[in-house]
Amino acid sequence: MAEVFVAKFAEFPDGERKIVQHGAHDIGVFHWEGQFYAYANVCLHQGGPACEGLIMHQVEDVIGPDKTLVGQKFSDTQVNFVCPWHGYEYDMKTGECVPDRRLRLKKYNVVRRGDDVFVSI
């Protein structure tokens, strides 16, 4: 298993993402709330750059105790990255496709060595 350099830790602030291309590998690496996540940057829909779009919190319905719809909000915990081509949303923590969690992007391990961040391929 090889390790591919992603970025210097200091140049990869929380909330940002980097795209790493290495041979046939096209990988999106996210730094989100102190953790790194890396996934294949090829969407399961039509092959779009799944990791290059918006990072959005999951939209949630707020249902009252009487089952009425009170409104909508953004999740406090779940965040998704969105494929920019047609909007497929992927769970940042798992790479699962949110509308159908049976589908998921290939996940890669991210390692920090001193000041450097690498992804294992």
Binding site: Q46, G47, P49, L54, M56, F74, V79, P84, H86, G87
Partner: protein, 405 residues
């Protein structure tokens, strides 16, 4: 520009290039050898309101022209002049090209629409694209019939002179101001034979019965040209039944099929294919899943109530499978045998025409057809281009033409 995101965050993006955003499509084109055979995109779009000031210069009616120019003078993109309103095509910016197209740069000296269209065509491997407007798909809802006519006239003349004349790889089917049959007839006469004109198009979102006697001269005139007539689907959240829906997904999913269902039902049951046997008809942007429904539903009722449709010489479904369909937005079911049955049911190998609908949010790449496991190579190539080359009698250059025969 700063894009507003969830939880009051923003994302700063300083440049956008749709060609780069489609880099994965370029890779697909190379892997699948799209340069070996023609790919014709029978439904794609531009955003005509970005050129609205240019278009308004072509308006024939001086009073409407002044009203429209004034309404657009604050760069308000036709507010007050164009119908249509609520609709979240961009999914809150998730389809990121919507907000970012504002900052996309184009080549100097080339019309912006030509430059942007060539850019995505080249990346996707498209040889010829049939281009349609975007907001004007709802122009049939304009309460003033004369405004539809005037705006359509201006748009068609502008498109012809500024876009179609400049790039032969871009074609269009001319917008018919269908709320006025006489004006539609005049439009056919004015534009048939002009460079880049490959047919005539009725935007389906409107409330006119296509079988009304006043339209017969329009269809006759189109039939004489040998060019096809297309019905381009759309949505209308303002309609009463759609007003019951609280989500754009619902309005879009049903709306883009509903109007074409109505027009197709009228078209077939009033025996228009018998009255205009040489007129080729294309149904655009309703996907494919509605067609097995239409065929089964109409055939079943026709068997019991054929006395209401004495003009028919065969089953409604048999007329439906004689017509042409664009592929997008092609429903990809979890059970692919459903799609395979649909292809068989509509005689897709000869009647289906690939379309991207790019740059709209639900666009389809050529790979949506090329990667279908149940199609042979010849069928893939026919759907991606060969069927359109024959239907429109396109000149695509000798090299690729041989791949079609």
């Amino acid at each position: 520009m700063d894009l507003p995101l969830s939880s009051d965050r923003t994302w700063r993006v300083d440049e956008f290039d749709s060609g780069k955003a489609l880099a994965h499509a370029a890779k697909q084109a190379k892997q699948r050898n799209y340069d070996q055979f023609p790919i014709i995109d029978v439904d794609s779009h531009h955003y005509e309101l970005e050129s609205f000031n240019e278009i308004l210069e072509y308006m024939p009616d001086p009073v409407l022209k002044q009203l429209a120019k004034m309404a657009n003078s604050g760069n308000s993109k036709g507010v007050g002049v164009m119908p249509g309103g609520v609709g979240y095509q961009d999914m809150g910016g998730r389809a990121i090209r919507y907000p970012l197209r504002r900052i996309e740069k184009t080549e100097p000296g080339v019309h912006r629409d030509v430059s942007l269209t060539r850019r995505w065509m080249d990346v996707m491997g498209i040889d010829i694209a049939v281009l349609f407007p975007s907001p004007m798909l709802q122009l049939g809802l304009h309460p003033q019939v004369e405004a539809e006519v005037s705006l359509a006239t201006a748009y068609n003349r502008w498109l012809s002179e500024r876009v179609l004349a400049e790039e032969s790889r871009i074609r269009s089917m001319i917008y018919l101001p269908f709320n006025d049959p006489d004006a539609s007839y005049r439009m056919v006469k004015e534009f048939a034979g002009k460079k880049g004109v490959c047919g005539f198009m009725i935007t389906s979102v409107r409330f006119r019965p296509v079988h009304h006697n006043s339209y017969m001269k329009v269809y006759s005139a189109i039939e004489e040209t040998g060019l096809p007539l297309a019905f381009h689907a759309g949505y209308n959240w303002g309609e009463q039944s759609m007003g019951m829906m609280n989500k754009f997904i619902a309005v879009h999913a049903l709306g883009f099929v509903w109007y074409n269902m109505v027009h197709m039902t009228n078209w077939v049951l009033n025996a228009m294919p018998e009255r205009f046997p040489k007129l080729k008809v294309i149904w655009i942007e309703s996907g494919l899943a509605w067609l097995p429904f239409m065929i089964q539903r109409l055939d079943n009722e026709y068997m019991m109530r054929s006395s209401e449709c004495p003009g028919l010489k065969k089953l409604p479904g048999e007329y439906i499978t004689d017509m042409f369909y664009t592929s997008q937005p092609m429903e990809i079911p979890r059970d692919m045998s459903l799609l395979e049955s649909t292809f068989k049911c509509i005689k897709a190998e000869s009647q289906l025409l690939y379309s991207s609908d790019y740059p709209h949010w639900d666009f389809d790449l050529p790979s949506t057809i090329y990667d279908l496991p149940f199609l042979k190579e010849k069928a893939k190539r026919d759907i991606l281009g060969g069927n359109a080359v024959k239907l429109f009698n396109l000149d695509i250059g000798a090299g690729k033409r041989t791949k079609v025969a």
